[in-house]
Amino acid sequence: MTTALNPRFTFETFVVGSANRLAVTAGRTVAENPGTAYNPLFIYSASGLGKTHVLMAIGHATKKLAPGLNVEYLTLDEFVEAFHAAIAAGQGDAFRRRFQNVDVLLVDDVQFLTNRKEMQSELLRLTEALQAAGHQIMLASDRPPAEIEDLDERLISRFSGGLVVDMGVPDYETRVAILRRKSEERGAKFQPGVLETVAGPDCDSVRELMGSLNRLIAHQAVTEGPINAEATRQVLGLAASAQAPAAATAKEARSSDEFAEFLSDVTVTVGKAVEAWRARVAEAVLRWEGEGYRTARLEALLEKDAPVGVEETFTSFVRDVERLKELEAEVTLLDPGAAGDAVFRDPSRVKEAEAAAAKVREGAAPPPGPSAAFTLSLFAAGASNQVALTAVKEVLAKPGKKYNPLVITGGSGMGKTHLLNAIGLELDRRARSIVACLSTQTFIDELIAAIDGNRMDWWRARYRRATALLLDDIHLLAGKERTQEELFNLFNTLLDHDRQLVFTTHAHPSTLEGIEERIISRLEGGLVVELQEPDRDVRRAVLERWLVEKDALDPALLDYLSDRPVDSTRGLAALVQRVADVAFAKEQPLSAGLAREVLEGQPAASRRPSGFRTSGIVVSSLGGVRSREKMVWDWSDPGDRVIEDLR
């Protein structure tokens, strides 16, 4: 089935010249390091320039260096034949196995792959298998891979992925060297100048050269004396003694050629100049068609005889396409289903596309926004929350760029929700912003409603539009697998578009349980800041504001309350409320004395009696938590905190 290597075709018998040096060097390298150097090695040249010789020489050299290797040479036709025979015999797999075990495969004449789709895929598969196994494959053809007609793109890229080298026509010196070596091999002797004469005229291939040499040898065998240069010309039918008349006709030749040359030059220039616009239009048609846009408008240009309005058409076409792209991108975010509409691919229907986009835009209600009550100016600053506030300022300065996501942690009542909403309000002030700011519970509820209403696309589109997503109490995601999945996707989409993400949670993300690792790691990938127990400055600022609201700003009371130990802002609120309640009951004004009496007279737990530890956002009934009273929340060990429905 395969051809044995011709013993005469070795590197030693190959005459190397400038035209084939690269191919030979590459071939030798491959023979020395099969499978590692250039894989595949693709050699191409016109017929008769030594492709087969080099291929076989590589085979020989490989065998010489590593006798154990399995080297096979075959032409493509043989390969095809073998394949067909194997298929006919029902041995297709055996055929494949056989070739996959070849260490060095040399395939000649691969240009015959044209119009052989099944062979192309077979060869592609084989090439991949050989490459994967570290086996060498070498191919020869009379043209580069890209010029082999009808060749599979994947094969072209495979072939071109290794090394593609060409071999040119040998130069004069190489030709003489080849002739000398060949005549030596044949034991023929020639007078000086004879071989030079044979090598003289330009020849297209070494084979042609060999033909000339054979004719000379045959001729010399039948004539008595050795053949000379003059006789050589006659034998080979070369223009006899071309020198003298050549000089005489030089001028003549020039005169008739000059005009023809001029004419062809002008033809090229005119062709370029006159047809340049057509080429440009055709190119543009191809390009936009390739991108899936309708190009009727450009094609109409080609119908015309003159390049009238080409520029204007081009400009308007490109402008329309750009607009379509914008609209499509926008619609893709809002409603992926609507984006496939053909209207977004036809520049002649921009108006319709605008209308379609507007429709989609209207259909998508904005996601829940931040609460207006929690402004940033109301958030009291102090040493305990300095880090967090600085991070927030950075985020507000460069949303989506600086700290993304920003995770705010802190115990209950530290002001996480306030800060989150404050960020949301600030971000919402920007032009064209859509800030989604909501509690995780609401997020989950909406998702469940969307699943229920079979409106998942709509739900996703709604959040994908958001320029910022702020989720409060992210730890409530624990155990909500579907929500985590959706959030994960949303997270990535928004992050890809540089949209700001802010989350709050009661503890550092790494300690959260029931949340997938991929989400945790993404949360940790941004910036995690902690809101600590309010320091005196913060307490004082907060108290001052409340007391002013209650119209009871008494410096002694303020000092007294500021110094009370509390672990959260909310604790502080409870403190004030208790004092205020007593004052109301006793119909006394708020004062330091009353406060001391209330707070120290009956030492009270500053903790909130209720165990529900969200940030005060009302929990809906859809989340699986039916009633506050049935929540077991304040267990001493945080690790034991679980939501348990007692019903």
Partner: protein, 199 residues
């Protein structure tokens, strides 16, 4: 004159050979005339004096046939070199698409060359043509004369070619450089096709 007419699908190039008297403009045209096949050329009109000096102008139309669907014609003109025929020169220059300035390489003719070049500029200006936009090439003719009599192309470039237009050394009598010059100017002129065409 419109260079390219998309309606009639015609391209017409008017090329004027300009230069001082006896620099070899007519010789250029004669050489070209002799090399163009009979079917391609019109009658060469030459209005010359007894002593073969151009009195009015030479005119050689060449029909290059259909190129890219355009009937392409070249019209080669020469102007009379002598100083006193300026009105004729200006007339011939009118509507030119390109100018070949044929300079006499002889050292003693340098002043005439410069004068003729200045005359070209002022005539173009007078015709309202932009000297910088007009395609121009230089031909340094008579380079076949003994070395001691002529300036080298490099020297002539220094002296005349301050706009750095393409320049060719020539020997119009024997034909060297003639077609190179024609090719050079044709290319410049035709390249303006795309630029000048209504886009």
């Amino acid at each position: 004159m419109s260079l390219v007419n998309f309606t009639t699908r015609e391209i017409t190039c008017k090329i004027v050979y300009y230069g001082p008297g006896r620099s070899g403009k007519t010789t250029n045209l004669h050489y070209i005339f002799a090399r163009v096949p009979d079917t391609r050329r019109g009658r060469m009109v030459s209005l010359a004096t007894q002593t073969d000096r151009t009195l009015f102008f030479d005119f050689l139309p060449i029909d290059l046939g259909q190129i890219s669907g355009f009937t392409t014609r070249f019209q080669l003109y020469t102007v009379p070199g002598q100083v006193y025929y300026n009105a004729t020169r200006r007339l011939v220059l009118q509507g030119a698409d390109g100018v070949v300035f044929v300079a006499d390489s002889q050292a003693r003719q340098l002043d005439e060359n410069i004068e003729s070049l200045q005359n070209l500029q002022s005539n173009l200006l007078a015709l309202g043509m932009d000297v910088r936009q007009m395609p121009v090439v230089m031909q340094y003719n008579k380079q076949d004369l003994p070395k001691e009599l002529v300036l080298t192309p490099a020297e002539l470039d220094d002296a005349l070619n301050f706009r750095s237009v393409p320049s060719y050394s020539g020997d119009a009598l024997h034909g060297s450089g003639v077609f190179e010059t024609l090719k050079g100017i044709s290319e410049l002129v035709l390249k303006r096709l795309s630029a000048g065409a209504p886009a």
